[in-house]
C-alpha cells in the first residue's frame, strides 16, 4: 500500500471514482451503465458507513466527516424512491451530488475517530441527525430539480415559441412554460423532505431540554435551522396563497432553502463567527 493509505481511504476514493463514472455514463445517455455504476458506488459508500460505525462504536454521525459520508450514501436510495414512488427523475444530478458530498470526507475533513461526548450520548442522537440528513439530501434534490427543470423547460419553451404566432406565445408562456412538471417534481420532493426537517427540529428541541435544560437555546445553529424551516413554511404558504401561479418564486425559495442548509451544515459548524452549543459537530 503506498504511503499510509488505509483500505478505508482506498475504498472511499474508489467509491468517489465510481460516482464520477456513473455521472459520465448518465451524461452520455448510457442509463443502464450509469445505474450499474451508481449502484456499485452506493454499495461502497454504504460499506464505508457500516465500517465506520463498527470502528467508532456508535452511529457514524459524530462529526462532519461521518455526516458527509452518510449523506453521500443516502443519495442512491433517494434516487430510487424518487424515480419509482414520486415519479421524479434526475439521477444524473443525484450522482453528481453524491460525488460532491464525498469529496470533503475524502480530501478535507479529518477521519480521526472521536468518542461521543456526554451530550451526544442520548437516544435522540441518531434519530435527530438522521432526520436532518434525510431532509437535507431530499431538499437539496428538490433545489437541484428546480434549477435543472427551469433551465430545461426554458430551453424547450424557447424552441416552441419561435414557431408560434404572437398571441399563442402568450398562452404558451402561461401553460407550457409554466414549469408545471418542474413545479410538481419540486413540490413532491419538498413534501417528502419537510416532515424530516420538522422531525429534526422537534427532536432537537426535545433533546435540548434533556441535555441543556431548555427546549430552545437561541443558539446560532438552532436559529439557522429555524430560518431554514421557515423558508419551507413560506414555500407552502405561497403555494397556498398564489394557487400555483408563481412557480418561479417557489423554486427560488427552495434554492434559498438549500443555501440555508449549506450554511447550517457547514458555515455554522466551521466558522468561528457562530460559537454555540453545537460546536462539537465539526
Amino acid at each position: 500500500m503506498p504511503g499510509n493509505l488505509r483500505p478505508f481511504d482506498l475504498l472511499m476514493y474508489v467509491a468517489l471514482a465510481e460516482f464520477g463514472l456513473a455521472f459520465v455514463a448518465f451524461l452520455l445517455k448510457q442509463r443502464r451503465l450509469g445505474w450499474g455504476q451508481y449502484a456499485l458506488a452506493f454499495s461502497m459508500a454504504a460499506a464505508l458507513v457500516v465500517i465506520r460505525a463498527i470502528q467508532v462504536g456508535h452511529a457514524p454521525m459524530r462529526n462532519l466527516f461521518e455526516v458527509f459520508l452518510l449523506l453521500a450514501a443516502l443519495m442512491f436510495p433517494l434516487s430510487l424512491f424518487s424515480r419509482f414512488v414520486l415519479k421524479v427523475r434526475g439521477e444524473m444530478f443525484d450522482v453528481l451530488t453524491a460525488a460532491v458530498l464525498l469529496v470533503p470526507p475524502a480530501f478535507v475533513f479529518s477521519a480521526e475517530p472521536q468518542p461521543l461526548p456526554p451530550a451526544l450520548q442520548s437516544p435522540f442522537f441518531a434519530p435527530h441527525v438522521s432526520a436532518y440528513m434525510l431532509a437535507y439530501v431530499i431538499l437539496a434534490k428538490a433545489a437541484v430539480a428546480g434549477v435543472a427543470g427551469r433551465i430545461r423547460e426554458k430551453k424547450n419553451c424557447g424552441l416552441v415559441l419561435r414557431s408560434e404566432a404572437p398571441l399563442r406565445r402568450v398562452a404558451l408562456r402561461i401553460v407550457d412554460c409554466g414549469l408545471k412538471d418542474t413545479d410538481r417534481a419540486v413540490y413532491r420532493l419538498v413534501c417528502l423532505g419537510f416532515p424530516f426537517l420538522t422531525a429534526g427540529l422537534l427532536s432537537g428541541a426535545l433533546w435540548g431540554k434533556q441535555a441543556w435544560g431548555d427546549w430552545w437555546n437561541w443558539d446560532p445553529k438552532e436559529l439557522w435551522s429555524l430560518a431554514t424551516w421557515l423558508i419551507y413554511v413560506a414555500y407552502f404558504h405561497i403555494r397556498g396563497m398564489a394557487a400555483h401561479r408563481r412557480p418561479m418564486v417557489e423554486i427560488s425559495l427552495v434554492v434559498v432553502g438549500l443555501v440555508f442548509i449549506v450554511i447550517t451544515l457547514l458555515w455554522v459548524n466551521l466558522s468561528r463567527l457562530f460559537p454555540g452549543l453545537h460546536s462539537y459537530a465539526t
Partner: protein, 357 residues
C-alpha cells in the same frame, strides 16, 4: 371575505420572512444576545401579532377545518408559542408579582455546590465569581438541594496500564531520581529507596482509578491505596508507610509518580437529594448529562463539573413546558398528515372513484 383572507395571507408571509431575518440577525449576535433580543418588548408585540394572526387564520380559512393535518399544524404552533410565552422569564416575573413578591418560581438558576453542601439559593452565573464578589442571585428554591456525591466516568484508555515511577530526592537538594515500576496488575515493582515493592492491584478505567499495594521490608504497609482521577501526573508521597517522618526523609523522601494514560470523559454524574424545610427528603436520584431529575415543578441538570471545583446544578422551572410538548405532539403528526397521508388518501379515493366511474 376573499380580500380579507388575502390580507391575512400576506401579513402571515411578511411575519414569516421577518422571523427569518431576525433568526439570521440572532445567529450573528450569539445565543445570549439573541435570547435578549427575542425576549425584548418589541418582540412581545411581534409574538402577539403572530398569535393573533394564527387564531384569526384558524377561523378565516375554511380549508383549515377540512384538512386535519393543517389544523393540527396551526394549533400545534400556537401551543408552542403559548408554552414559550408562559415559560419565559417575563411571564415568571409577572406571575410572581401576581402571587405576591418573591413567591413566584425562578425560571432558571444555577446552584454552586460542593459534595454534601446544601443550598436553596440560585445564582444567575454558571461559574464561581471571584472571592470578593458575591454571585448575582437569581432566586430561591422552595427546598434545599444537596449533592451527596459527584464523579466523572471515562472511556477506556488508549493503553491498559498507567506508567509508574518511584521518585526520590537526595538530601542535599540534588535532582530527583526516577525508578521505573511495573504498571501491570499483580507484578511487584522493586523500589530500593522504599526497601520494598509497589504492586498494582487493579484499575477501574471507568472511574480512572488505580489501586496500589505498597510493601516495605516484606510487610504490606497498607491494605490498598486508591488514586484518581487526574489528567496530570500525580505524586503520591510514601511518608505514611515509614515508621517515622525522619525515616522517610533519610530514605530520600520516596514517592510514586503516577502517569495516567489519556482518557476522554464519558459522563459527569452526581447524586442529588432534595429536602424540605424540615429536612425530610422529597426525592433523590442520580443526574447526568441527558438525564435530569424532576421534582416539584423543576428540572435539575448537571450543568458543569470540573473537579475539584464545585459542581454546578441548573434548576429550570417547567412552567409552560407541557404546552410546548403538546404543540410538538400536534405539529409533527399534523405535518405528516398534511404532506404525506392526505395526498395518499386523496389519490386512493380518486382511484376508487375512477374505478367506480
Amino acid at each position: 371575505m376573499k380580500r380579507f383572507r388575502q390580507i391575512l395571507f400576506r401579513a402571515t408571509l411578511v411575519l414569516i420572512f421577518a422571523l427569518v431575518v431576525l433568526c439570521i440577525v440572532g445567529a450573528f449576535l450569539g445565543a445570549d444576545r439573541a435570547k435578549l433580543m427575542f425576549n425584548s418588548i418589541p418582540m412581545w408585540f411581534f409574538w402577539g401579532f403572530w398569535a393573533v394572526l394564527s387564531v384569526v387564520g384558524l377561523f378565516a380559512r375554511g380549508k383549515m377545518w377540512r384538512s386535519p393535518g393543517l389544523l393540527m399544524t396551526h394549533i400545534g404552533l400556537l401551543l408552542i408559542l403559548a408554552g414559550g410565552v408562559w415559560g419565559s422569564r417575563s411571564a415568571h416575573e409577572w406571575r410572581g408579582k401576581m402571587q405576591g413578591g418573591g413567591k413566584g418560581k425562578t425560571p432558571e438558576g444555577f446552584l454552586l455546590l460542593n459534595p454534601h453542601d446544601e443550598s436553596d439559593r440560585q445564582s444567575s452565573q454558571l461559574w464561581r465569581v471571584p472571592e470578593d464578589q458575591a454571585p448575582k442571585p437569581a432566586g430561591t428554591l422552595p427546598f434545599d438541594v444537596m449533592v451527596r456525591r459527584a464523579w466523572l466516568e471515562y472511556y477506556p484508555p488508549e493503553s491498559e496500564a498507567w506508567v509508574l515511577l518511584g521518585q526520590t530526592y537526595h538530601r542535599q537538594g540534588a535532582p530527583k531520581q526516577l525508578t521505573p515500576l511495573h504498571g501491570r496488575v499483580g507484578f511487584p515493582g522493586l523500589f530500593p529507596a522504599l526497601d520494598g515493592e509497589v504492586t498494582v492491584l487493579g484499575y477501574n478505567h471507568a472511574l480512572r482509578q488505580i489501586e496500589l499495594q505498597v510493601t516495605r521490608r516484606g510487610r504490606p504497609m497498607t491494605n490498598s491505596i486508591i488514586v484518581g482521577p487526574s489528567d496530570e501526573p500525580t505524586v503520591l508521597s510514601l511518608a505514611d508507610v515509614f515508621e517515622t517522618p525522619q525515616a522517610w526523609r533519610e530514605a530520600d523522601q520516596p514517592a510514586i509518580v503516577l502517569l495516567p494514560p489519556s482518557q476522554a470523559i464519558r459522563d459527569y454524574k452526581a447524586d442529588l437529594v432534595l429536602r424540605d424545610d424540615d429536612g425530610n427528603a422529597i426525592t433523590s436520584g442520580e443526574i447526568e448529562v441527558n438525564h435530569p431529575l424532576h421534582a416539584r415543578g423543576y428540572h435539575f441538570y448537571l450543568s458543569a463539573f470540573d473537579p475539584p471545583l464545585a459542581l454546578v446544578v441548573k434548576a429550570v422551572s417547567d412552567d409552560g413546558l407541557y404546552w410546548v410538548y403538546a404543540g410538538f405532539a400536534l405539529l409533527m403528526p399534523g405535518v405528516i398528515l398534511r404532506l404525506w397521508a392526505e395526498p395518499i388518501a386523496r389519490q386512493m379515493f380518486r382511484k376508487e372513484a375512477d374505478h367506480a366511474g
